[in-house]
């Protein structure tokens, strides 16, 4: 059979080219590994600071001192207001970092040789932060899910009531987990695809820590009741301003590093990352326009009201999904999937066409969050039409990813890392199909306000966003820390099944509850009166809310296992072989693929 012959030829070719690459890789590793021994270690030593030049250390100190002063001013100006508490948070954060910095302040100057290598320390710390936020955010997810099944799990505390903890969960996972993953991987991808080192060593740290300070302010604020109430844009004005500063620096890193690139063409993954950075900046600034009641108070009122505010909010909300949860993560996918599979993306052209399609269509679709409301009908119709069109570039992207794996299904079968990425692409396809469907007015009449929306969201976030991050991390961690493989490929496998089972249980529970809810609300008796009271529908949800909490628990368990596995890979993973280890001449990726299946 010709097909068979093809497959055999392919794998033979694969082997030969892999072998050549291996040899090259091995020679470089030999040179480097010995020198890098120390920096293989994880944080907790001064090694990361010793990578900074003394000028950079000085600048870092100046920035931290300025930030501490800001904290002091906030604490003083906001006395008696939650703003004051946040002043102390800023102060503690900056002083804490300053201590770390000072402890390594007089370490020797870095080896100028380091300029000939990539700068991955911020990515490493970013990975750790990503996993910390993942566990944190998903833990609160399981908790808020449980509250709907067992409402007295608040233990009568204000901070633990559903309304305050829900944004803790959403911010924790979207910004904490998702945002850190985007920042960490973007630095890595940017350098590899540009074949250039980051433009400097201070600004990536500023972005990483600055962003995490934003997340801390956001989350600690909700517990105290500080919120603008805008979904996914809850943090108050001062945190918003801070994020703008961080974001400008982030964007500058991209521009400056791209300017140093050795590849003439900008690889498409960077397009997606850049669209993510740029558009999120625009969305964030416009949607957060607000007037604080005083500079000594956390409270502000949004500039817009009513219809305008609703449209602005959902223009933001929808496009946060588009550019934060989609474009950025597609960037991740377009790099790590082909890289780990060892196969080029199926169609580069298609990835470009879908890029412009996504960038263009998404922005029109926000009004599908406001069907049948007081928003003018023509805006609703526009939103509906563009949501339908969105399916084309969305499925082009998902299809492109899957087609890349076509012919390598044996790898997908054997390698849980690759399977994570494949499942992510499948869920991305499901979530976008579902989204376009729900954007139709008649469907939305049923789905809006129900758990169906929640089911849809989690097909996207659990199935797509989380899975692609886990896949990317399992590929990236051994590579960055120069390990032969993950500490335990078995646990990667366990994590995969937990995550998949968790996501499926969650999504099915919410599809069921959402559709039942929607139908109950609109069912009439023969006499033409509404058949069910609202409370009937609340009662009907109970079993699904328990199922959802259980699905979430499975997913959280998987995430904890992943964190453990990453931790152990860093601490105790087998370092990439040196001279006398014959196995050493297998590159990280090839080896990983083999091991996972064992």
């Amino acid at each position: 059979m010709p097909q068979r012959a093809d497959a055999a030829a392919l794998s033979y070719r694969d082997c030969v080219s892999a072998k050549i690459k291996c040899l090259r890789y091995y020679r470089q590793q030999k040179k480097r590994v010995s020198r890098d021994r120390v920096s293989l270690l994880f944080m907790g030593d001064n090694d990361m600071i010793s990578q900074l030049t003394s000028t950079e250390r000085q600048y870092a100190l100046v920035i931290l001192v300025l930030m501490s002063l800001c904290g002091l001013v906030m604490a003083a100006g906001g006395r008696g207001d939650p703003l004051g508490v946040h002043g102390f948070v800023v102060l503690a954060f900056s002083v804490g970092l300053a201590f770390v910095l000072i402890s390594g302040f007089y370490a020797p100057q870095p080896d100028p040789e380091q300029q000939t290598q990539y700068y991955d320390d911020p990515t490493k710390v970013g990975i750790a932060l990503t996993m910390a936020w993942a566990v944190f955010g998903m833990f609160f997810g399981v908790w808020v899910a449980s509250l709907l099944a067992w409402p007295d799990l608040t233990f009568d505390q204000a901070w633990s009531s559903f309304g305050r903890m829900r944004p803790v969960h959403t911010t924790g996972v979207i910004f904490g987990f998702g945002g850190n993953a985007l920042i960490a991987t973007s630095f890595h991808v940017l350098q590899r695809t540009s074949r250039a080192r980051l433009s400097d060593q201070l600004s990536p740290w500023f972005v990483l820590f600055g962003f995490n300070l934003f997340c801390v302010l956001a989350v600690s604020g909700y517990f105290m009741g500080i919120t603008q109430s805008k979904e996914y844009a809850e943090p108050e004005w001062y945190a918003d301003i801070w994020l703008v500063i961080v974001w400008i620096v982030y964007f500058a890193i991209y521009l400056r590093t791209l300017a140093r690139r050795k590849e003439p063409h900008i690889y498409v993954a960077n397009w997606y990352y850049m669209a993510f950075i740029l558009v999120v900046a625009v969305l964030h600034i416009v949607n957060n326009l607000a007037v604080p009641i005083s500079f000594g108070s956390a409270k502000s009122y949004s500039l817009f009201s009513g219809v305008q505010d609703a449209m602005t909010q959902w223009w933001y909300g929808h496009n946060a999904v588009a550019f934060f949860l989609t474009a950025g993560f597609l960037g991740m996918m377009y790099y790590y999937l082909p890289k780990h599979a060892g196969r080029p993306i199926y169609s580069y052209r298609l990835s470009i066409i879908s890029f412009w399609g996504i960038t263009f269509f998404y922005m029109w679709a926000g009004s599908h969050h406001l069907h049948y409301t007081a928003l003018p009908q023509w805006v609703q119709t526009l939103g509906m039409s563009f949501s339908a069109m969105l399916l084309v570039p969305s499925w082009a992207s998902a299809g492109n990813a899957l087609a890349t794996l076509n012919g390598a299904w044996h790898k997908v079968r054997d390698d849980a890392t690759l399977r994570f990425m494949m499942v992510a692409a499948v869920f991305y396809g499901i979530a976008t199909f579902e989204g376009s469907f729900m954007a139709m007015r008649p469907v939305n009449a049923l789905s809006h306000y129900t758990d169906w929306t929640v089911g849809h969201v989690h097909a996207g976030t659990l199935g797509w966003n989380s899975m692609i991050v886990f896949g990317a991390f399992y590929a990236l961690v051994p590579w960055l820390w120069k390990r032969e493989s993950m500490y335990s490929p078995k646990l990667v496998e366990v994590h995969f099944w937990l995550a998949l089972a968790g996501a499926v249980v969650y999504v099915f529970a919410m599809w069921n509850s959402g559709i039942i809810q929607g139908l109950m609300w609109r069912t009439y008796t023969e006499n033409g009166v509404l058949a069910y009271s609202f409370l009937d529908s609340v009662e009907a949800m109970h079993p699904y809310y328990i199922a959802r909490a259980f699905g979430g628990l499975l997913f959280l368990t998987g995430t904890i296992i992943c964190s453990y596995n990453i931790w152990m890979t860093v601490r105790a993973g087998k370092a990439l072989a040196t001279d006398n280890d014959a196995e050493g001449d297998i590159p990280v990726f090839a080896r990983n693929a083999v091991q996972a299946g064992e």
Binding site: P151, D152, D156, A158, S161, G163, R164, R166, T227, S229, L255, P264, W271, M274, A275, L278, V279, V291, S294, S297, K299, Y301, S302, F304, S305, G306, V307, Q308, D309, A310, M311, Q313, W315, N319, F323, W356, T359, F360, M363, W364, A365, G366, S367, H369, Y372, T373, A374, P376, V379, L382, F386, P442, A445, H448, Y449, T450, W521, R522, L535, V538
Partner: protein
């Protein structure tokens, strides 16, 4: 020419940046810009009033506690919603809502027309422990609202900020904000008289939380809940008039 253009687009990061922004911003601009002239198409409603300082404080508590995460305030133009909750929501009804609280999820029912539906005492009992009055409820308890005294000190600032974003509060209202908030919940004090003077006779001036001795966060929140859907009669009038759009069935 084309070739030149493409080469540039690709080689020059800036061009890519500009292209992304241009392509991305058009959709938002097209949809949002016209909404800022929308007031020309929305009928004026002369009876529309602003929130009193106490109601505004209650609204801020509603935001602080995240009630909007489970309750919408937007009745859609669907038959079952109108029958369940009341006349569908009009754009004017939230024109003083900075920010709007339309919500996106109904874990609990819509609240757009909650005002006057239940007694104050019912609300207080319900907020202290929802399951005392509605056994199947999954709503959290909000006992601290009854324990916390309302903080009046900044209400003037709140009103002033609202004015700066377009809500027609007068200087007099701003100056008397704290006093009016106190007065609205203590009908027997001197402070009470000014409230109806400034905000209209229809304003609810009473002890909302059942405790005349203290003005609590409960007072503020209940005052707000009791005004929901009551700032104007426009929606009721419209649903009575013949040429109103009929709600869509399914």
């Amino acid at each position: 020419m084309r070739e030149f253009f493409h080469r540039k687009l690709e080689r020059k990061t800036i061009s890519l940046v500009v292209a992304i922004v241009a392509v991305a911003s058009i959709g938002g601009f097209v949809e949002i810009a016209p909404l800022f002239t929308i007031h020309k198409t929305v009928e004026e409603v002369p009876d529309m009033r602003t929130y009193t300082p106490l109601e505004l404080a209650g609204r801020d508590i509603y935001i602080r506690e995240g009630c909007y995460a489970c309750h919408s305030q937007m009745i859609r133009t669907l038959r079952d919603e109108v029958e369940r909750y009341g006349p569908y929501s009009l754009a004017v009804e939230s024109k003083y809502d900075h920010p709007m609280l339309w919500g996106s999820k109904r874990t609990g029912p819509d609240l757009a027309r909650l005002g006057d539906k239940y007694s104050d005492a019912w609300h207080v009992a319900h907020l202290i422990n929802p399951r005392d009055v509605v056994p199947q409820s999954v709503m959290p308890k909000y006992g601290w609202l009854q324990r916390n005294e309302l903080d009046f000190s900044k209400l003037g600032l709140n009103l002033a900020a609202q004015r700066s974003v377009g809500v027609p509060y007068t200087q007099e209202m701003i100056d008397n904000a704290s006093k009016d908030a106190y007065g609205q919940a203590t009908p027997d004090t001197d402070a009470a008289s000014g409230v109806s003077e400034r905000y209209g006779e229809a304003t609810n001036v009473r002890v909302f939380d059942g405790d005349p001795a203290r003005v609590t966060e409960m007072d503020a929140l209940v005052a707000y809940l009791q005004i929901l859907g009551r700032l104007t009669d426009a929606a009721y009038k419209q649903s009575a008039s013949a040429d109103a759009p009929t709600p869509v069935g399914e």
